[in-house]
């Protein structure tokens, strides 16, 4: 299969305009006759659904929660980047593009990354117009702060609830179009299969989570906006319901999966405290603007943090990366924490954490300023741990957080199945091997609001000439049958172990072998272990209740069955890539002082995997760097 990214011609700064000039248009009267399905109501899904409806398309939007407002975009705390250069600190579209490309360790396309930066400024305008109460100066202008991996201030935020505020804007706009009867919203509906007719995406099968009924929906195009799949690790900063199922079903129907193993491990989450734990709570990266990270320079130091004198503290990020210090990018900060913890310097009851200390910031700026900046994060920390972080340092630890990988898409955000698009975190597009903080609210929003509504017409203009699909097509019957037999099979096993038991097992293997650092032997072992987990799951899982009722246990089982298969692909991908780049750190490829060794000569490509009857076949999209020269990514 030849992968064509469909990059438009011209200079980097002209590409998006050149694309739009050549793209086909559809007149408003004809748009009304076209139906589009959007699976997901996060920033990417709600943004796409609302905007497509405004343009005149008939839209159906789906989410598994009880309301569109609960999509996991809601949990983003820190902020959203834009090259506005409001701080007059030398920012520009070019600089943002370069930071993002370098942050991703030169494993993404120049053209996509540039477009992300280019569309960032109008996005802030859009959100302000929709009523997002971004932080402001006394004079009324917008405030910015810094995030990891950059030296300018380009992050916009709404207290510690940026994602929530952006999502409220997107959800409001979505419901405006529900009221206009241009969007039909289906909450509590989980997509369990994709329907492909004559090689094109034409519909989906969803399970009504209240009645258990399997429902068919047909459309002229299908957009997946289902978010990240880091729950494959079980313990992660994602919501409990986040899943990879929609992607996985699309993958099995022919969509290639891009860079599945590229996973971001976030350095500042709360440490795991018990085996029963179901999720890890993130403490926003913004805290690293003022907090300093350290561990004692004696192993197993039992003293209380506040009693350890300055000279006996190791501010290891400041020591190893003097020019970025505590704002080193996430992959680097996480690995550095792991290095200290593994070497025996970890703190906390389980010795699995490092300190994030605000003592100096409080001395310098005063308690009130720190409260104003991070008040709700400190409150949240106290609610969960019972500790007052104004008095003693926070304890933090790395956690699985974001999937850079996802369905492979071209410049138009179309997957390898014509008519199937992937937007937001569920695609592999702009972040390469590591995403910069505050770039993904941006990517999800820009995909949904600005890009997809300008590219989908290029496909639909031709589709108008063919018949609209209907739900009594035999492919729908087939898909419903497949879903039904899968559900029946799970319910019939009646084994001896719970779904969560198998998820914990999978999580342990994935975290051990396919997270912050990876090696050949470990990954090979992981693949065979996951296959054992898969076989055990399919012979020994126990799910009670029925398929024709609200059954949360069945929902979990269906998601886990897909995660298990996805886990195998992730390890396969990590094993194939004999280099270290970004978040993908292969122990065999490092310098003497533990920095990543990238192998551009052999691996300057995006891996795109084809599903092949339980096996996977690799395709490569070569990355060509026309405008910048990939350099060694250094934050020293």
């Amino acid at each position: 299969m030849k992968l064509d990214a469909k990059i438009p011609e011209g200079k980097l700064e002209d590409k998006w305009r050149n694309y739009q000039i050549k793209s086909q248009l559809i007149n408003p009267a004809n748009k009304k006759k076209l139906n589009v399905i959007v699976v997901g109501s996060g920033l990417s899904g709600a943004g796409a659904a609302a905007t497509l409806a405004e343009l005149g398309y008939d839209v159906k939007c789906f989410c598994y929660q009880d309301s569109a407002r609960r999509a996991h975009s809601v949990a983003a705390q820190g902020g959203i980047n834009a090259a506005k250069n409001y701080q007059h600190d030398g920012d520009s579209v070019w600089r943002m593009f370069y930071d993002t490309l370098k942050g991703g360790d030169f494993r993404s396309r120049e053209a996509n990354t540039y477009r992300l930066a280019e569309l960032s400024a109008p996005l802030i305008d859009h959100y302000v117009q929709q009523g997002v109460p971004f932080a402001r100066e006394y004079g009324g202008t917008l405030v910015n702060r810094s995030f990891g991996g950059v030296q300018v201030q380009r992050t916009f935020y709404a207290r510690g609830q940026t994602g929530q505020q952006l999502l409220m804007a997107a959800y409001s706009q979505l419901y405006k179009m529900v009221r206009a009867k241009k969007v039909e919203m289906f909450p509590r509906s989980e997509m369990l299969d994709l329907v492909v007719i004559d090689g094109k995406a034409k519909g989906i099968i969803v399970r009504d989570l209240v009645t258990g009924e399997l429902k068919r929906h047909a459309a002229d195009a299908v957009i997946l906006a289902t978010g990240g799949y880091s729950r494959v690790f079980r313990l992660s900063t994602l919501a409990i319901g986040c899943n990879g199922s929609a992607l996985w079903k699309a993958h099995k129907k022919g969509a290639l999966f891009g860079a599945p193993s590229f996973t971001q491990i976030h350095p500042t989450a709360l440490p795991q405290s018990s085996e029963a734990q179901s999720k890890l709570t993130l403490m926003s990266e913004s805290l690293r603007n003022d907090g300093r990270i350290w561990v004692p320079n004696q192993k197993e130091d039992a003293r209380k943090a506040n009693t350890i004198p300055e000279e006996e503290r190791d501010y290891y990020l400041e020591r190893r990366y003097p020019s970025f210090g505590n704002l080193a990018p996430r992959d680097i900060a996480s690995r550095a924490a792991k290095e200290r913890i593994d070497a025996g310097y970890g703190v906390g009851r389980l010795k699995n954490a490092v300190y994030l200390d605000f003592k100096h910031a409080i001395e310098k700026f005063g308690l009130e300023t720190i409260k104003d900046r991070y008040g709700n994060l400190f409150k949240m920390y106290k609610k969960i741990t019972g500790i007052d972080a104004y008095q003693e340092p926070m304890q933090i630890s790395p956690a699985a957080h974001f999937s850079m990988g996802g369905l492979w898409v071209d410049y138009e955000l179309m997957t390898t199945i014509p008519g199937l698009y992937a937007v937001g975190e569920c695609n592999f597009s702009d972040h390469g091997a590591n995403r910069l903080g505050a770039n993904s609210l941006l990517q999800a929003s820009v995909d949904g609001y600005f890009i997809l509504p300008n590219t989908i017409n290029n496909y639909l203009a031709d589709e108008m000439k063919s018949d609209h699909p209907t739900i009594d097509h035999p492919e729908f019957d087939k898909a419903v049958e497949e879903v039904k037999s899968n559900i029946d099979r799970i319910l019939a096993i009646n084994g001896t172990k719970t779904v969560d038991h198998f998820h914990r097992e999978l999580g342990k293997v994935m975290w051990q072998e396919c997270a912050m650092s990876r090696n050949k032997a470990g990954l090979e072992k992981a693949i065979s272990q996951i296959k054992e987990i898969r076989d055990a799951f399919w012979s020994d899982v126990k799910v009670t209740g029925d398929s024709n009722e609200l059954n949360t246990e069945l929902e979990k089982a269906l998601r886990l069955a897909d995660f298990i298969e996805l886990g195998i692909l992730m390890c396969t991908d990590a094993l194939e890539r004999d280099e270290s780049c970004g978040a993908h750190f292969r122990e065999e490829f490092q310098t003497e002082d533990g920095e990543a060794v990238r192998v551009d000569a052999d691996y300057s490509y995006v891996s795109a995997w084809e599903y092949d009857n339980g096996d996977f076949k690799l395709h490569k999209e070569a990355l060509e760097f026309e405008f910048v020269k990939p350099s060694v990514r250094s934050y020293k």
Binding site: D66, R70, Y127, R136, G386
Partner: protein, 247 residues
């Protein structure tokens, strides 16, 4: 740690429902309250029983999907906290913990502890938006918004839509939820153009959905995880009058 959960079980909307008791051992203080319920559910599966249906998603206090009555209080024993943020360290060995769904006519029970809060979405649908299309926005700094104004809008906008305010109110009023949204949008220059229409339509929808009227007991403010102030309700009432005169 061992406790006795007394949990509301109800097969479906038409079932009568009843409290059932479950003794659960093997819990730890570090566990969140929802993790304790997860643990109970695993035990139920192994005993071949149906699991207790309860809701959650983010488990960090922001999505608003969780929410049950715990010993008669919405979201449990603490002020300004969601159910998912509650930890077992708030209970003692041997405690009996009564768990029930939100009780409000406009939030019918779907199953066990899960209720239908779609009435909230329908209130939002009636004007909780700014009718500007994607692609039409002016430069973000073109309209300065003083920090105090923006901060107040943010205070109101923090609502997570959990429904605790309705559930805890003796009149099942949705005034706190609705007023928070109205004040967020009407407080900003961008929301001004549609302010009167928004107030009239959202409050009308609130009535159609069968939510009761507010008698200012202040119970909602205490249970609200975001500490949304009841001053919002007073402000909304003033806006309702203004909308009638000017709208």
């Amino acid at each position: 740690m061992k406790v006795t959960f007394k949990i509301w079980r109800q097969e479906g909307p038409n079932d009568k429902g009843a409290i059932r008791a479950y003794e659960v051992d093997g819990l730890t203080e570090d566990m969140s309250f929802l993790e304790a319920l997860d643990h109970l559910n695993e035990l139920l599966v192994l005993k071949d029983e149906k699991v207790i249906a309860f809701e959650y998603d983010c488990r960090e206090g922001i999505c608003g999907q969780c929410g049950v009555f715990i010993n008669g209080r919405a979201h449990g024993p603490h002020d300004h906290m969601t159910t998912c943020q509650l930890h077992m360290r708030s209970f003692k060995e041997g405690d009996t913990i009564v768990v029930e769904p939100w009780r409000a006519a406009s939030f019918p029970v779907i199953k066990d502890l899960i209720v239908d809060r779609s009435a909230f979405d329908r209130i939002i649908e009636q004007g909780a938006f700014i009718s500007a299309k994607t692609g039409t926005a002016p430069e973000a700094n073109a309209i300065p918004i003083p920090k105090a104004v923006s901060d107040r809008a943010m205070d109101a906008a923090a609502c997570i839509g959990c429904g605790a305010c309705v559930a805890t109110c003796k009149n099942s009023s949705a005034a706190l939820f609705t007023s928070a949204k109205i004040n967020h949008l009407n407080g900003l220059p961008q929301g001004r153009a549609e302010e009167h229409k928004r107030v009239a339509e959202m409050t009308y929808q609130m009535e159609i959905e069968g939510f009761g009227s507010c008698t200012f007991t202040g119970a909602c403010e205490v249970e609200c995880p975001e500490g949304i102030s009841i001053i919002n309700i007073a402000e909304m009432n003033a806006r309702v009058t203004k909308a009638k005169v000017l709208g």
